[in-house]
Symmetry: C2
Subunit: 643 residues, 2 copies
């Protein structure tokens, strides 16, 4: 199963090597992180980033190895944005000349870059950005300026303290005319002493959710006071401004840049499966250690993992982790496919790929954020301790629901695509993940044929159910929309229902890809069988949770919904004996998990007890402040106390 999770034996071995490299290196210690003040915390992150980079250079790690290394260091740092956004953006949006100039600098880290798009006043609406880049033909320069308070750049990771450069998105003004938002490479700090350059105001935006969590990252604020950059620092692969002040499109198709978006979102989906699987690993292991109630004749109590309520909360999350893992794998394929097509000037699948990745990003990150918190609750009181690892995992994870597209805004984009697909059914064959809509007539007509709980153990029956639900909800939305004179008004009014239809569509994708995965050859004794059980758990859990949809569209009868629920209960019993093995397959080190409750050896209580004494509050028997603020109360001398 470890191989199935990793994707291949090579990846398993490679990632395992990197995991151990990190786990055995004292520089990467994480335990004290939540106790550090902001400055110490940040300094420590700088140290880890430098040490990590040193390892990459010294050990001549490949790009793939370096990625795993950074993952297992498990600490948001400016390098994430440098490697994950700054460099890819230049690769995607820069001309050959620009790439030749900037990429070597960035790749050797002679400069450090960040991705400065969001402003205080605008995040989702990128076209509303207020920073201006005005072309000055005399000087052959752009003047970058922050005309209002709300135009201050706000949020970019790595911007606050680390970056020397930023990829700044600004409204281009040429000859008094606006030409939309474009990217500009702007140097922010001196390469000599790192002080901000003239006209640049830059700093950190302050504390974020959690203790350590994302506070290791210097999300920044940035203002420009008429800062000048050479003309050739506008990324000009797609649009250009000539020396003479002419704005023009190059012959490179605009759509090319969407390829990057597909790529970034694919990585977010893969990360979702990582984060969720970590939480599930902790909660599963601890649920097997924790015993509560049910002792018979003085024997041991019941492991809480044996309670059906615990199973019905935990196992669907375990199944989801696997489901997201496989849909992430498939997205990698999709990205390659899109890339090849783009290179061959074939844009036909781009809208579908775009909607699909938007939807999957939204679906998987929302489910993961909720799932981590559910795992924390599954650990009872002890899950509330930072040493459980779950609070910090939650705090560091949740922005994934917001960045790279707010999850609701993304689902509305999916909805637009679905509505369009439905409206064009008459003359346009839907492709890829929407191909099923081509069979809409059948899907509207045929109802579920399940008669027994056993009948639900059938991939065909499951896919059809999810297809029918998604198709019928989409069609219902289409019909409702048709009642509005103004389609935009209709879309706004029905937005919430459209979002539900989008969710139905995205869940279908995940279920289908899980099932497709199982149609492949999967080596390893019993591996395929275990995955089949998880696949059914995932699908039937969703079906039960959303039975309102399936019943409302008339595809299922109440009886059939009940049978699905019965089958689900049986499936939980089948997961139970494999549960520990299934989370051990993630192959996470104790270092990466960072959780006393999730320790591989199960030695939870002694380690919790030990860890408690590390808190600074336990430095002395009598706490600092006692004599000033408690003693006077006890001695009834509060009136004369100095508070």
């Amino acid at each position: 199963m470890k191989v199935a999770w990793a994707g291949s034996r090579e990846t398993l071995e490679l990632s395992d090597r990197m995991a151990k490299l990190v786990a055995n290196d004292p520089v990467f210690e994480k335990f004290t992180r939540p106790m550090l003040g902001r400055k110490e915390l940040f300094k420590n992150t700088l140290r880890k980033a430098a040490h990590g980079w040193k390892l990459i250079v010294d050990l001549r790690l490949t790009e793939e190895e370096a990625k795993w290394l950074r993952l297992y260091i498990d600490e948001p740092a400016y390098t994430d944005l440098h490697w994950g956004m700054f460099i890819p953006a230049i690769e995607g949006q820069g001309t050959e000349e620009q790439k030749k100039k900037w990429l070597p600098l960035a790749q050797k880290m002679k400069i450090i870059g960040c991705y400065a798009q969001t402003e205080l006043g605008h995040g989702s609406n990128v076209q509303g950005l207020e920073t201006t880049a005005t072309f000055d033909p005399q000087a052959d320069e752009f003047v970058i300026h922050s005309p209002t308070l709300t135009s201050s750049k706000w949020w970019p990771g790595g911007l606050g303290k680390a970056s020397t450069h930023a990829l700044v998105y600004a409204r281009l003004i040429v000859g008094g005319e606006f030409h939309g938002v474009h990217g500009f490479i702007v140097q922010l700090r001196s390469l000599e002493d790192h002080s901000p350059l003239p006209g640049i105001t830059v700093g950190d935006i302050g504390l974020k959710f959690g203790n350590g969590a994302y506070n290791t990252m210097d999300n920044g604020v940035l203002r420009f006071d008429h800062v000048r950059i050479p003309r050739n620092q506008m990324l000009m692969r797609v649009s250009q401004v000539t020396k003479e002040g002419k704005y023009m499109q190059s012959d490179v198709p605009r759509q090319l840049i969407y390829g990057t978006m597909v790529y970034v979102r694919q990585t977010i989906v893969v990360d979702a499966s990582k984060a969720l699987s970590r939480a599930v690993c902790i909660a599963t292991r601890y649920s097997a250690v924790r015993r509560q109630f049910g002792s018979r004749n003085g024997g041991p109590e019941t492991q809480v993992i044996d309670y059906k309520t615990q199973q019905s909360r935990l196992f669907p999350l375990l199944a989801s982790a696997y489901a997201f893992r496989f849909v992430g794998e498939w997205l990698k394929w999709l990205y390659m496919d899109v890339k090849q097509r783009l290179e061959a000037n074939d844009f036909s699948t781009l809208p579908e790929a775009h909607a699909c990745t938007a939807g999957l990003k939204s679906l998987t990150t929302t489910a993961t954020a909720d799932g981590i918190e559910e795992c924390r609750k599954l650990c009872g009181g002890h899950g509330y301790l930072v040493s459980s690892g779950l609070p910090e995992l939650f705090a560091v994870y949740i922005p994934a629901c917001t960045y790279e597209g707010d999850n609701v805004v993304l689902l509305l984009q999916v909805a637009r695509f679905i509505v369009k697909t439905v409206s064009e059914l008459g003359y346009k064959q839907p492709v890829g993940t929407t191909a099923y809509m081509g069979r809409v007539a059948t899907l509207m007509q045929n109802n579920c044929a399940v008669r027994t709980a056993e009948d639900w153990l059938n991939p065909g029956a499951i896919v059809e159910a999810f297809e029918a639900r998604a198709a019928r909800m989409a069609v219902a939305c289409g019909r409702q929309l048709a009642k509005f004179e103004n389609p935009e008004e209709g879309f706004a009014e029905l937005a919430s229902d459209l979002v539900e239809a989008s969710v139905a569509h995205c869940q279908l994708i995940v279920v289908s890809k899980f099932i497709e995965k199982l149609q492949q050859d999967i080596p390893g004794k019993g591996v395929k069988q275990s995955l089949e059980i998880l696949c059914y758990v995932y699908a039937l859990f969703l079906l039960h949770k959303h039975q309102g949809d399936f019943l409302a569209v008339g595809y299922l009868t109440p009886k059939q919904a009940l049978l699905a629920n019965d089958q689900l209960r049986t499936l939980y019993s089948k997961v139970r004996p494999n549960a520990i093995a299934l989370v051990d397959s993630f192959n996470y080190t104790d270092h990466y998990l960072g959780s006393i409750l999730g320790r591989y050896d199960g030695n939870v209580y002694p380690k919790l007890y030990e860890a408690a004494w590390e808190d600074p509050l336990n430095d002395s028997d009598v706490a600092d402040g006692f004599h000033q603020y408690v003693q006077p109360i006890l001695k009834q001398k509060l009136h004369s106390a100095k508070l």
Copy 2:
């Protein structure tokens, strides 16, 4: 509306006075809290607690005033447990003599007490506690001992550093025989110098979720090495141990102590409405400030509160805050009623009151925890900043889902009660919140009569729908259970479905109590109308969210479910113009809200910008650590750097 929310004009005025007292006192400043290290943080809390107590004494505040004061100080402190658990437990479980001895000490704070029940190994299963209290008749003493690591007391608030005394729950052993778990007053620390007494090991259990949040509280660990206490420090109102070593029940009925539980849970429900309303207030105000997309001809963009998706996420939470407020008010009445009955030796309503409060505690705290996080997401990226107030509100609130009964364990208790009620229908008239089950035959038979969206604006139709759903789900569970030979096995196997039936029952209670509230006279222009809209929003939102239940039990047709959803959309438009007024009615000061996004004056952006510069990371232009860990990278001198 302010009066309706507060409950009465007097309460409004009183609480307003206390809120302002706190807000205007610099000692109660909260802004820097998340930046403090653990020791400083805790010391500051001790200071606030002392200052608060001084105000209470100096200003001769009433108990009611003191409660509001502590609420608005808004910082978990040892005093919460001292006043909220230690004193009430002695009041409820102590003999007259014990009360006479201990209460004056506690009430003057000559001693500080905590409630030490939970252990490292046992929380939910109180009967499984391992700490022992062995009676030694020679010495007329109990010997309190921690025989195992897992018997260490773990979690009690105020225990770690502040408390001088603890109410310790331990298994009583008299003459070699076990007599279950009882409470004992144990002194932990010297009243002279606060050092732990011989045989006592005590400390703080370490960091919890969030920055400030609950880390202001010294949740503690405690071990006993054969610590001796006089016999009269066992709380003996209900059971006694005589000098001669005889264990006996007093003539005070056992059930009396359940009265306290009803009381504590009622306060938790009231607190849920406070926490949720704070989050909703922040998200609502910010949603009116935030504009994104939809600018026409260069005009201002759309306030995000005008997007239907935003409304469909936010307004049900606004309605829930009001719903929980009113069900909390009703629980106060219930508590008084139970108390009076208990005093008259009438225990008939106790099981129902117990199940009802257990269920409402679970329902309201779960919804509030999820609701706060949803409010954070509704604020987009800026909600992730600690200065939004939402991360810390979430972190400090969520343990309410776990303490005073894990929410799932509580729902299982409710399920037991429901199953019992159903099974006894033939010969026992159900009372109180289960009275509707007496009409089960009708509820099974009659289906919904709604024909238009308008028909849903009818309290009768709504209550009947929720009753039918709850009754049918309960009956279905009963039928499924009957198929098992061993009822306990059946209960275990169907636990997850039973929990769903419990939720249906509890939601019915909240909906009914909201509707009953509206049948009263509610003064104020338009107040009743506004509340009616919220009541419908609450009910129809639940109905839509759980339409699977309503459809599966066959009470609703898909068409009727759709009509409810249509009506819901219309209702959101009616809430919109009142939204700001509805959150202003909570009458929260900016101090209490503690949120830049939720500022009353809406001056969000300038204040966010200002606050950013307060972060310690901005103390210098070039961050601490730059020269050691970043400069060498940029200068390509990493090989010679000391990391």
